[in-house]
């Protein structure tokens, strides 16, 4: 009986496993192989060793993309976590109109990155948006043109992405906060511990699971960051807001340089694996709750 049910479980999972193996691992293997060839617009099988990787290593646009994704990733994850947690803590004070506020804060997440990018592009465009409003109000000194300044533009992407994701983090954190035993809060009140210390040293450590979930979700959206950059700046000004996924897409299609694109994709894969693997391992090692 037991063996039979296990067999049927395996049979039921087989198609999914097959798809995962062929579609994911197969495509991954193919991509890695192509990155060692001299493929241009169409895949070729002329092996050139690490040539694509060495030209990637000296490619300024790629280096800028990597630097950008590092800045973006760190700031975005940190800010989204802090802001999301603060929003959740705020709502957790049993404020009035809680469900309204929750919807308002979660709302940006329902929009695609394309819409988010376009909206922020208009807001930040110095001749259309916030800066123009300032000038129209007579504040001639007012300047907010980060979108068109190469050394600042990446921070505008962070701004838009945090606006987009903070609500989601809030929802995850709120669920975590609601899971905190009310007895703990009672004890905190009895001991007269200030609220900020209680949050920082008691509640946050209790919510490791929520944080891990949020970090993984945010990290995934960092790795695949593409559409926001396309919609908001299209990588500009110059190459100042280029990101790795956009590098891959542009070289794969528009530039007909499949070899270089797959080398970049492989590099991304290795990096993502190196960052995410320990994180997931850590999360799965958490004492698992007893299944029902």
């Amino acid at each position: 009986m037991r063996i039979g049910s296990r067999l049927s479980t395996h049979l039921a999972l087989a198609p999914a496993l097959l798809i995962a193996l062929v579609a994911y691992c197969g495509a991954m293997g193919w991509t890695i192989w192509i990155s060692f060839t001299n493929s241009r617009m169409l895949p070729s099988s002329v092996f050139v060793g690490l040539r694509q990787y060495s030209s990637l290593a000296t490619n300024e646009r790629w280096l800028t993309s990597v630097q950008n994704i590092a800045i973006f990733g760190l700031l975005f994850i940190a800010m989204a976590l802090v802001l999301g947690f603060m929003l959740a803590a705020l709502i957790d004070q049993r404020v009035r109109a809680e469900s309204l506020l929750r919807s308002v804060f979660l709302y940006p997440f329902s929009m695609s990155f394309i819409v988010t990018g376009l909206a922020w592009r208009w807001l930040l465009d110095p001749t259309l948006g916030i800066e123009k409003v300032g000038h129209d109000l007579g504040l001639a000194w007012f300047r907010f043109d980060w979108l068109v300044r190469p050394e600042r533009v990446i921070y505008t992407l962070v701004l838009a992405a945090v606006w987009h994701a903070a609500g989601l983090v809030m929802a995850i954190m709120l669920a975590g906060l609601r899971g905190v035993d009310p007895e703990i809060w009672k004890a905190v009140r009895v001991d007269g511990i200030p609220a900020w210390r209680a949050y920082l040293f008691i509640v946050v450590p209790l919510m490791r699971g929520s944080f891990a979930t949020a970090v993984i979700l945010l990290a995934v959206s960092v790795a695949r960051l593409y559409d926001l950059s396309v919609a908001m700046t299209n990588g500009g000004p110059g190459i100042a807001s280029e990101v790795p996924a956009k590098f891959v897409m542009d070289h794969l299609f528009e530039r007909g340089n499949v070899g270089l694109a797959t080398a970049a994709a492989t590099t991304m894969l290795i990096t993502v694996a190196a960052v995410l693997a320990p994180l997931m391992y850590w999360q799965y090692r958490q004492p698992a709750r007893r299944p029902l």
Binding site: R61, I114, P126, P150, N234, G236, G238
Partner: protein
């Protein structure tokens, strides 16, 4: 998102193909990216002419050149090719020819006598190893300077005729409180502006030496430096809203008289026409050249994937012939804003700018093949990154730019 769009369009195309076609019906599925108002009116000319000749036109329009090319090439490689697909005149089909995926059109080239009726550069651009592999359908000029007559009058200046004239005119526009140069700060337009400066100051030979021969010695010489400096100097005349702007929004600044001039290809005429303006009246067009006129000519072609089905092959031949017929050529150009690729058609019905251009394409000295006819997309893209950086990064010196360009030109692409 673009991938999804392309896949969606490809899927839609597959379903469009499914109904069984009559054996003798000459049915042609054509992938192209002409989707804007003027463009779709133009492609309808092809469809109507093809239908009139007895064919059935199945339209697969995919918005965005890169998306359309990707979908068409993926289908061709995957064994489900369209009957015909649009590409830009140039090197975009090199790999397709090398992998034997395209049918040649030698027979048509012979019977229509392409040697006599096409500009030499265009014949060369469709020829690989002695065979013709594509039908060119139009010529787009890429280095026009459009100007608002009203804005120039307000600034009290004349339209410039060469690059040294340009800067005083820009200064006057600036002094008059207008945006001197309407610009769309996207990478490909930054490259196009650089190309405009390069061909205007350096002429035909230098342009071909750069993109075609990858002449590093020339890049390190004084002429190229002057070009780079002129390009960078133009940056003082654009407005802070230019980064990321679309080209047609920049054209609209000229149309409204808020900006004085714009460097753009002749497709910008579509915007002026849509706003009810005519060349020679509300706006003017000219080409700046220090060494006489050097007119950068690009365009579109149709290529025909290798097919097995006999009726499909017939449809390909019929379509190829129809595209280049004089009547089709002139009707198409009227809608598209381009000029006919045939040298032997009557262009008197076209607008002022197009008539000027029709004169130049008869003069071998004035013809300059476009960037994409001279260099593969991978090299073009790599140089484009550098041009874009040089334009936007105020700390990048001309020396650094020249060195990086020289390095890139020596890499294998």
């Amino acid at each position: 998102m673009f991938r999804c769009l392309a896949t969606g369009a490809a899927l839609a195309a597959m379903f469009a193909l499914t109904p069984p076609a009559g054996a003798e019906e000459q049915r042609a599925e054509v992938i192209h990216w002409w989707t804007s108002g003027g463009e779709s009116a133009a492609v309808k000319v092809f469809a109507d002419q093809f239908q009139a000749a007895g064919g059935t036109w199945v339209d697969t329009a995919i918005a965005g050149g890169a998306n359309a090319r990707t979908a068409a090439i993926n289908r061709t490689v995957g064994g489900n090719p369209p009957t015909a697909m649009q590409l830009n005149t140039g090197k975009q089909f090199d790999d397709l020819v090398e992998n034997d995926l395209l049918a040649n059109v030698d027979a048509l080239a012979g019977s229509q006598n392409w040697k006599a009726i096409l500009p030499a550069a265009f014949l060369q651009a469709v020829t690989r190893n002695g065979h013709e592999y594509a039908v060119p359908v139009n010529i787009h000029g890429q280095n026009w300077l459009f100007y608002s007559t009203a804005a120039l009058a307000k600034a009290g200046t004349q339209p410039p005729t060469n690059w040294d004239d340009l800067f005083p005119a820009l200064d006057k526009l600036k002094a008059a409180g207008l945006i001197p140069l309407a610009f769309s700060g996207q990478q490909n337009w930054e490259r196009n502006l650089f190309n405009n400066v390069m061909v205007g100051r350096g002429g035909h030979d230098l342009f071909v030496a750069f993109w075609g021969k990858r002449d590093v010695a020339m890049v390190k010489g004084p002429e190229f430096r002057k070009i780079a400096e002129t390009f960078k100097r133009l940056r003082d005349y654009v407005d802070p809203g230019s980064p990321g702007r679309n080209w047609n929004d920049a054209t609209n600044l000229v149309i409204q008289g808020k900006a004085g001039m714009q460097f753009m290809g002749d497709w910008a005429k579509g915007e002026f026409t849509a706003a009810g303006q005519t060349p020679g009246k509300e706006y003017g067009c000219t080409v700046l050249g220090d060494h006489g006129i050097a007119y950068v000519m690009g365009g579109d072609v149709f290529v025909f994937p290798q097919l097995k089905d006999a009726s499909q092959k017939k449809a390909q031949q019929l379509l190829a012939r129809v595209l280049l017929e004089p009547d089709t050529q002139i009707k198409f150009a009227q809608k598209k804003g381009s000029i006919p690729v045939r040298l032997d058609v009557d262009t008197s019905t076209l607008d002022d700018c197009a008539r000027k251009a029709s004169g130049w394409i008869h003069d071998v000295n004035a013809q300059v093949p476009a960037n994409e006819m001279l260099s593969p997309p991978a090299l073009t893209g790599a140089i484009q990154d550098l041009i874009s950086q040089y334009w936007n990064d105020t700390t990048m010196t001309t020396d650094a730019f020249i060195n990086k360009v020289a390095n890139t030109l020596t890499q294998p692409f």
